[in-house]
C-alpha cells in the first residue's frame, strides 16, 4: 500500500490572523463561557484588523474585545453580555457611538443560519421572531434581507425564513485535533457543528494536537472531519479567561477584572494596553496571567473544570 502523505495544516496564531483581510466576515465559535476563541480576538487586535463582521449566537468576552478595540464594525448575533457578571459595556458604548452596528437575531435563528449555510441552501425556516420588532426592524441588512415571513406553501400557516450564512472564515476552538484537522470536541457543541461547516475557510484552534491514530481508533468522537479544516493553530489556554471543558475552568478573578475594566473607556484602554496590545503574543499573555494561576485553573477529574 502506498502511504498517503498526511497534510500538516498547522500554522501559528500570527500566520492564521494574517490570512484574514480587513472587511472579512467571521463565524465565531464557542458558546457562553465555553471554548471561546479569545486568543484569536487578541491577535486580531494586535494586527489592527478593521471592519470585520462577526456571526455568532452569543459570544461574550471576545465580542467585547473586538468591539472595544475597533476590530469589528458589524455583529450579526443574538446575545451580548457576560451572563452572570452583567452587561457588555464596550458593546454598549460602541453602539451608542455608532461605531458598531448590531443586526439582532435569536440564538435559534443564528444556529439555523449556520445550518443553512452548511447545507448550501439559501435559507432555513424558523418559528421564532414573528410578531415582534425582531421581524420588523433591521440595522443594516434591510428588513427583506434580514428575514421573510411567508405563508407556508404546504400548510398556509405563517413561517419565518432566515437567510443562510457562508462567511469568509469560520473560527472554532476545540479540545483536540490531529495535524490533518480531525477535531474532537468534549461536552456541549453549541452551534459549532454548523458553524465549522458554513465558512469558506475554517481555522481551528486546539488545546492539544493528537496523533491521527487516536482519531481513527475513536471515529465517533470526531466532531469536525479534516476535510473541512484549512488551518490548525495549537494554542493551550486559547479561551482564557473563559473555560474549556476537561482542560481548564474560567478565571473568575480575571473575568471580574475584565468586566470592571470595560466600565469606562479609560479603564478599558488600560486593560487593552496591558493585556492585549502590550504583549507580543499569546505566550506572553499567558506569562502575564502567570503559571501558578493557570495551574490552579486546570480541570479536575471527574468534573471537567
Amino acid at each position: 500500500m502506498v502511504e498517503p502523505e498526511i497534510e500538516d495544516k498547522r500554522i501559528t496564531l500570527e500566520e492564521a490572523v494574517k490570512k484574514i483581510p480587513d472587511g472579512s466576515g467571521l463565524f465565531w465559535g464557542g458558546f457562553g463561557y465555553q471554548r471561546a476563541p479569545i486568543a484569536l480576538s487578541h491577535e486580531l487586535v494586535r494586527q489592527r484588523k478593521r471592519n470585520l463582521t462577526i456571526y455568532t449566537c452569543g459570544s461574550e468576552v471576545d465580542l467585547e474585545i473586538m468591539a472595544g478595540a475597533g476590530v469589528a464594525s458589524r455583529y450579526e448575533i443574538a446575545f451580548s453580555a457576560i451572563e452572570a457578571l452583567g452587561l457588555s459595556n464596550n458593546i454598549r458604548r460602541r453602539v451608542s457611538e455608532g461605531k458598531l452596528l448590531v443586526e439582532d437575531y435569536t440564538n435559534l435563528a443564528m444556529a439555523l443560519r449556520f445550518l443553512g449555510g452548511s447545507l448550501n441552501v439559501p435559507f432555513m425556516p424558523l418559528r421564532s421572531m414573528m410578531g415582534t420588532d425582531m421581524a420588523k426592524l433591521s440595522r443594516y441588512r434591510g428588513i427583506d434581507n434580514k428575514l421573510r415571513v411567508i405563508d407556508c406553501p404546504f400548510t398556509g400557516s405563517k413561517i419565518c425564513l432566515v437567510p443562510s450564512v457562508n462567511p469568509d472564515f469560520s473560527i472554532v476552538h476545540v479540545q483536540r485535533v490531529d495535524m490533518s484537522g480531525n477535531a474532537q470536541i468534549d461536552g456541549i457543541i453549541g452551534e459549532d457543528i454548523e458553524g465549522s461547516r458554513c465558512g469558506k475557510k475554517l481555522i481551528v484552534l486546539a488545546e492539544e494536537i493528537i496523533d491521527e491514530k487516536d482519531v481513527r481508533s475513536h471515529p465517533d468522537q470526531t466532531k469536525i472531519p479534516a476535510m473541512y479544516v484549512d488551518y490548525i493553530v495549537e494554542l493551550p489556554y486559547a479561551a482564557h479567561p473563559m473555560m474549556c471543558q476537561n482542560y481548564y475552568d474560567y478565571d473568575l478573578e480575571h473575568l471580574m477584572l475584565f468586566h470592571k475594566a470595560t466600565k469606562t473607556e479609560e479603564t478599558w484602554q488600560e486593560y487593552l494596553d496591558e493585556y492585549i496590545i502590550g504583549v507580543q503574543n499569546h505566550e506572553e499573555y499567558l506569562k502575564l496571567i502567570g503559571d501558578e494561576r493557570l495551574k490552579e485553573l486546570r480541570a479536575k477529574e471527574p468534573w471537567g473544570y
Binding site: G30, F31, G32, Y33, Q34, C57, G58, E60, I77, A78, F79, S80, A81, E83, A84, L85, L87, S88, R92, V95, S96, V102, D104, Y105, T106, N107, L108, A109, A111, L112, L115, L126, R127, S128, M129, M130, G131, T132, D133, M134, L137, K158, I159, G187, I188, I189, G190, E191, I193, M243, Q245, N246, D249, Y250, L252, A299, P302, W303, G304, Y305
Partner: protein
C-alpha cells in the same frame, strides 16, 4: 417566622411554579436556582435543560453560564443548540421557560434589546439570546423582574420577545408554538394574565406590600381582582437548600 432576603423570597416563589416531571429551561441566575430548588424539593423528576446543549443537568455547583462545564457532570446528554432550541423547544417539548426583561408591557411582551429609540439607542441590552425562541415556543413562560415603575410600560422601546402581542388571537395569527407568559414575579408582587383579554392581572402581593404600592409602580392599567392574596413566604427548608446549592453566595449574595 422565617427570616429571608428579597432574593431568597423570589427564588422560592419562582420555584413553586415548576411542577414535577416538567422539562425546564433554567438559564443562569435566579431562575436557575429556582429550577434547582424545585428539583430538590417538590419536583425531583423535573428535567433541567440548558440551551447550550446540556440535558437533565444536575450541577453540584451553580453555573455562571448556560455553557458552564458545571452543567456537564451527571447530565444525561451534552449536545448543541439545534437540539435544545430546535428539536426540544421549537418541537414543543419544553414545559417551562424563565426569562427576565428590562421592560414589560400589559400583554407580557418583553424588551431585552434596547432602551431609547432603535435608531439612536441609549443603552444596548443583551438582546434576545434564546429569549425570543423561549417566549415563542415554551408551553409556559415565567418572567422574573426587578420591580421598577419604569420597567412596567404602556409601550416597549423595542419588543424582543412575544407575550400575547396585541392580545387575543395574536399568538395564533403568527402560528407560535408555545402558550405565552403564565406569571410575572417581581420583588413586590406576582402577576398573571386574564385569559379573556390576555392582559396582565395582579395575582398576589408579597408580604410588606399593598395593592396600592403595585398600582403606583406600573405605567399601564392593571386588572386587580377583588381578592388579592399575600404571596406565600419561603420555608426554612427552601432557604437552607438554596444555600447548599449556592454555598459561595454567587447569586444569593455573600450575606446570605
Amino acid at each position: 417566622m422565617t427570616k429571608y432576603t428579597k432574593t431568597e423570597f423570589l427564588i422560592a416563589c419562582a420555584s413553586r411554579h415548576v411542577k414535577d416531571g416538567e422539562n425546564v429551561f433554567g438559564g443562569t441566575g435566579m431562575p436557575l436556582l429556582a429550577a434547582l430548588l424545585a428539583k430538590e424539593t417538590h419536583a425531583p423528576g423535573s428535567n433541567l435543560i440548558s440551551e447550550a446543549g446540556f440535558i437533565d443537568a444536575q450541577p453540584r455547583e451553580v453555573p455562571l453560564s448556560v455553557a458552564d462545564t458545571r452543567y456537564y457532570y451527571g447530565c444525561s446528554a451534552a449536545i448543541g443548540l439545534i437540539e435544545t432550541l430546535g428539536f426540544l423547544l421549537q418541537g414543543g417539548r419544553i414545559d417551562v421557560g424563565f426569562l427576565g426583561a428590562a421592560q414589560i408591557d400589559e400583554y407580557g411582551n418583553l424588551n431585552t434589546s434596547y432602551i431609547g429609540p432603535y435608531d439612536h439607542p441609549k443603552v444596548k441590552l443583551p438582546g434576545s439570546g434564546g429569549g425570543n425562541d423561549i417566549a415563542s415556543s415554551a408551553k409556559r413562560l415565567i418572567i422574573m423582574m426587578a420591580h421598577d415603575k419604569r420597567k412596567f410600560v404602556k409601550q416597549l422601546d423595542y419588543m424582543t420577545s412575544p407575550g400575547y402581542l396585541e392580545g387575543p388571537g395574536s399568538r395564533e395569527k403568527w402560528n407560535l408554538v408555545g402558550g405565552g407568559p403564565q406569571v410575572v414575579i417581581t420583588d413586590m408582587c406576582q402577576f398573571d394574565f386574564d385569559p379573556d383579554t390576555c392582559k396582565i392581572r395582579l395575582l398576589s402581593v408579597h408580604p410588606g406590600y399593598s395593592v396600592a404600592d403595585v398600582l403606583d409602580n406600573v405605567m399601564f392599567d392593571l386588572i386587580v381582582p377583588d381578592n388579592v392574596p399575600t404571596t406565600e413566604e419561603p420555608s426554612q427548608e427552601q432557604i437552607d437548600i438554596m444555600h447548599k446549592l449556592d454555598p459561595k453566595g454567587i447569586y444569593l449574595g455573600k450575606g446570605g
